[in-house]
């Protein structure tokens, strides 16, 4: 066990050195690192609990996506039947299906063929699944059911999350923060991590709005009060002004003249006459054409600017607006105008986002945690090192060198993985120091036993290593199982603990099997001991 060929010893030392070298980039500043090649830039990232910042977990409202998908299917059915001039009654959404009853005397087969054309094959990752977006069936009474299939809905949710991530990215980037992290989590969630952000209130406001902007006509066929008491016309709906404007009701047509998707730019500014904050916007060419046409046809009538189902303002069209640009005023504060411009530029979310988890750490606590973590690590390591020296003397020194290499390797591996260091992660490293020496303790106690059993020095060393290594492997694998499980269930700081703890176990086994043995062998060759100082 104690004999190493020259190449083997070299290989061990080189491996240890190589792994340790990965920790080097951590000692340089970001600016210095950026001049290096990319492969050398990998380094430890401080977790949000150490550097301060905000972590938000957002959930895409999948029910809204589902509902929208079904309503879209219903509108498609209506369009198809109208175009084909097929009479129908009772077009409704029921559960996961759209139901429509064909009138007596219509060509049912023709209707069915037309409706079947709505169903499209789903092109997913596995393109030849044969799944289609709709299951169309008809019973004897002429009731057609178009079931929106679950894969179609899931596909739509997936697309919505993808779109949402892009839009969230644009909105967060507008805040001018450093290195925000935006990631999908699970099927319908988005993680947003913004280092250094102290108060996420504004971020939450930006993310909490769908920012669906529509330009629609105000329905003047009856007054809003009449509509509240009676029933609004089928093609209109009642919408209200925002609370700060007194929740005034408006009767607005459902038909959208131009939507926010046609905006190319939006900037905050001030009205030249009233010097009130406004948002000025510009349409793209198709939006400009649609807007020009709508305003030409409706001079003298009011139209409404609707944001997230609230009527921001309802000005009267004085003259056709042909230039494709305009402005929105609505008693904004400067900041609100600013935010609205950001939202309009970034685009509307396909579905509302809900904040389901928030964790924010201020920079003060982060800095405290770093300092406390450092002090605890130094003190803990020193105590262990002194204790090992007192208990095993020279072999304690070997153990300490091994532990030092071990810790350097942990940092190397963590850097190579671009891992996140959290406060529990630091605790994991300190704990690893305590546990790493266990492998040495196992070996040394075994050596002591073998010496007592009457073995000669070299023989005892050899037997000690030989017998202890199996035990070391067994104990570390069981601990590693626990660390691995923790990695899979944990998030954030806890996962940081699992990572350092797990990596620590691997490096511990490595150092016990190689470094400690190598050092012991080197010492034995140097001193040719007649007696083992253990």
């Amino acid at each position: 066990m104690l004999y190493f060929t020259r190449w083997k010893a070299t290989a061990i030392l080189l491996t240890a050195l190589f792994v340790c070298l990965f920790s080097v980039p951590n000692f340089f500043s970001d600016a210095t690192r950026e001049t290096w090649p990319t492969w050398a830039q990998r380094h430890l990232v401080l977790g949000l609990d150490l550097q301060g910042g905000s972590h938000l977990l957002l959930e895409v409202d999948s029910n809204a996506v589902r509902k929208e998908k079904l309503e879209q299917a219903r509108d498609d059915v209506r369009r198809v039947l109208r175009e084909a001039r097929i009479g129908y009654t009772g077009l409704t959404v029921r559960g996961n299906a759209v139901e429509v009853r064909l009138r007596e005397g219509t060509d049912r087969q023709q209707a069915l063929t037309k409706l079947r054309e709505l169903s499209q094959p789903l092109s997913g990752v596995l393109s030849s699944t044969g799944q289609r977006s709709l299951d169309v069936s008809m019973d004897d009474t002429g009731l057609v059911r178009l079931v929106v299939t679950e894969p179609a809905i899931q596909e739509r949710i997936r697309q919505s999350v993808d779109q949402s991530i892009q839009i969230v990215e644009r909105r967060v980037n507008e805040l001018g923060t450093v290195e925000p992290l935006i990631q999908r989590q699970g099927s319908d969630r988005i993680v947003v991590q913004v280092p250094g952000l102290q108060d996420p209130t504004r971020l939450k406001e930006l993310l909490g709005k769908t920012a669906k902007l529509d330009f629609r006509m105000v329905d003047q066929s009856m007054s809003p009060e009449q509509a509240i008491q009676g029933r609004p016309p089928a093609d209109s709906e009642l919408l209200y002004a925002p609370a700060k404007q007194g929740r005034q009701p408006y009767l607005i047509e459902k038909r959208v003249l131009v939507s926010g998707a046609d905006l190319t730019d939006a900037q905050p500014g001030f009205d030249q006459r009233t010097s009130e904050p406004i948002v000025s916007f510009r349409f793209n060419s198709s939006g400009a054409r649609k807007f020009a046409q709508a305003t030409r046809e409706n001079v003298g009538r009011p139209f409404a600017i609707v944001l997230d189902n609230e009527v921001i303002s309802a000005p009267v069209i004085r003259e056709p607006i042909l230039g494709g640009s305009g402005q929105i005023s609505g008693n904004f504060t400067v900041e609100q105008a600013n935010d609205l411009a950001i939202l309009l530029r970034a685009g509307a979310l396909p579905a509302p986002l809900t904040i389901i988890e928030e964790r924010t750490v201020g920079p003060g606590l982060g800095q405290d945690s770093i300092e406390k973590g450092k002090l605890a690590s130094y003190v803990g390591a020193l105590w262990v090192v002194i204790f090992m020296l007192v208990t095993y003397g020279l072999f304690g020194l070997i153990a300490n060198v091994a532990v030092a290499i071990n810790v350097a390797m942990i940092f190397g591996v963590l850097s190579a993985l671009n891992a996140t260091l959290t406060l529990p992660g630091i605790a994991g490293i300190v704990l690893t120091v305590g546990i790493a020496v266990d492998s040495n303790v196992l070996i040394y106690e075994r050596i002591r036993e073998e010496i007592r059993a009457g073995r000669t020095p070299l023989n005892a060393l050899d037997a000690g290593f030989d017998r202890a290594l199996a035990t070391i492997l067994d104990t570390n694998i069981t601990t590693f199982i626990a660390a691995a499980v923790l990695f899979f269930i944990g998030t954030g700081p806890v996962r940081g603990f699992a990572v350092t703890f797990g990596v620590g176990i691997i490096t511990t086994v490595f150092t016990a099997f190689t470094v400690t043995r190598l050092l012991t062998a080197a010492w034995a060759r140097w001193r040719r001991p007649k007696f083992i100082p253990i």
Partner: protein
């Protein structure tokens, strides 16, 4: 100041290191006297009832006191604030928050007198309700405090986290059980698992008494305790297995005692080093990981050691590990200490000096060291003398283990 102490200690370590490198006869600390022969196994008559009582007490506590579920699992809001002007006025803050129409909240000094921890129970109104509550608190406390930490966990996330945590613990126990079953015998796996469950139950009882917040980091602490307590148990089990192979006729209780006594020094030294590491975290690591380290300290240091010595090992008697012994073979003289005569050691010495790139030949009976392999003596293949009919229990284990031992090398 503290950095000077650290540098001083570091210097001391450096000097000491040089001293031990050149002056080898420096006396060492032997925490456990070399020939300790303490009858641990007899203590099972005390330790088993004690553990039973403690386990029942822990379970009772869990149901009467309950666990102090943190927001990770119960949902709600946690806000850590630091007063910007002197010690925090907790009662004033309580009055302020009282006007906010929150369903349930607690204030507590946290660490230094300027810091206050505000816990707000889950508010009605689903996910948005929690956010609204934070908004109200921020509005009410305004700029008089610094917000050091704000954590809001909605109802959906908290339910998920709890189920993940529980699943995690069961998966870990199960995974370890399977591993031990492969490496040892099922009796060992079962014994370790019972010991493990015992550890976890007692730790949960401790958390209930100390009213430590039970959150995601507690699950981390529990899993670490699990892994670590097992670590200890496995060391003793490893030795039991080794002695089972070596001494065929030693009474099982003696064998257990021998195993525990011979690993006792290691157990204590390792626990001291872990204790030192944890103690440093507990003293200097700050409030944020205080409950984490306190839980671990209890689980690893107090319960873990006790369990592996007084519970896990004696349990093997009842699980029937030693039953097929005593008449199934005889002590293997080659492996006993008396059998290690000078001749063999000399042979090994020679072998050591020569090239030792190859371990024991593959044809060797795996449990033996290279030393005995080179001098392969006649009585060595003891397992062969076992009656085939009985090899199902203890003996079979020996063989299986040997197979594993060979594979390792």
């Amino acid at each position: 100041m503290s950095s000077w102490i650290l540098i001083g200690l570091l210097g001391l370590v450096a000097v000491w290191s040089v001293v031990v490198l050149f002056w080898e006869r420096i006396p060492h600390l032997h925490i456990v006297p070399p020939d300790t022969k303490f009858d641990f196994i007899r203590f099972r008559r005390i330790s088993f009832p004690i553990s039973a009582v403690l386990t029942i007490a822990a379970i009772t506590l869990y149901f009467t006191h309950g666990l102090n579920f943190g927001i990770d699992f119960r949902g709600g809001t946690l806000i850590e604030v630091q007063s910007k002007s002197g010690p925090a006025d907790i009662s004033g803050m309580r009055t302020t928050l009282g006007t906010l129409n929150l369903t349930e909240f607690q204030l507590q000094q946290f660490g230094s007198p300027t810091e206050v921890l505000i816990r707000i129970a889950q508010q009605p109104g689903g996910e948005e309700g929690q956010q609204a509550a934070v908004q109200r608190v921020r509005g009410a406390l305004g700029d008089s405090v610094e917000y050091r930490r704000v954590e809001v966990v909605g109802p959906r996330v908290s339910t998920e986290l709890l189920s993940y945590g529980l699943i995690g613990i069961f998966v870990a126990i199960f995974g370890i059980l399977i591993y031990l079953w492969f490496r040892f015998e099922w009796q060992f796996a079962l014994g370790a698992s019972i010991a493990n469950a015992h550890d976890l139950v007692l730790t949960i009882g401790f958390m209930s008494v100390a009213q430590i917040d039970f959150d995601l980091t507690s699950i981390a602490a529990l899993l670490t305790i699990l892994g670590y307590s097992l670590n200890d148990t496995v060391v003793i089990y490893d030795r039991i297995r080794e002695l089972l192979r070596r001494y065929k006729r030693m009474p099982f209780t003696d064998l257990l005692n021998a195993s525990i006594n011979s690993t006792l020094s290691r157990s204590i030294v390792t626990h001291l080093t872990v204790t030192l590491a944890l103690l440093s975290l507990l003293m200097f690591g700050g409030q944020a990981i205080h409950s984490f380290t306190a839980t671990m300290m209890f689980g690893v240091v107090l319960v873990g050691t006790y369990t592996s010595i007084f519970i896990a090992s004696p349990l093997l008697i009842y699980l029937g590990v030693g039953e097929a012994r005593g008449h199934a073979g005889k002590d293997d003289p080659d492996e006993t200490e008396g059998g290690r005569n000078a001749l063999k050691i000399a042979a090994l010495e020679e072998q050591l000096q020569a090239s030792k790139t190859e371990p024991a030949p593959a044809g060797d009976v795996g449990g033996n060291t290279p030393a005995s392999a080179s001098t392969a003596s006649a009585p060595t293949p003891a397992p062969a003398s076992a009656s085939p009919g009985k090899s199902g229990k203890g003996k079979g284990g020996g063989k299986g283990g040997k197979g594993g031992g060979k594979g390792r090398r």
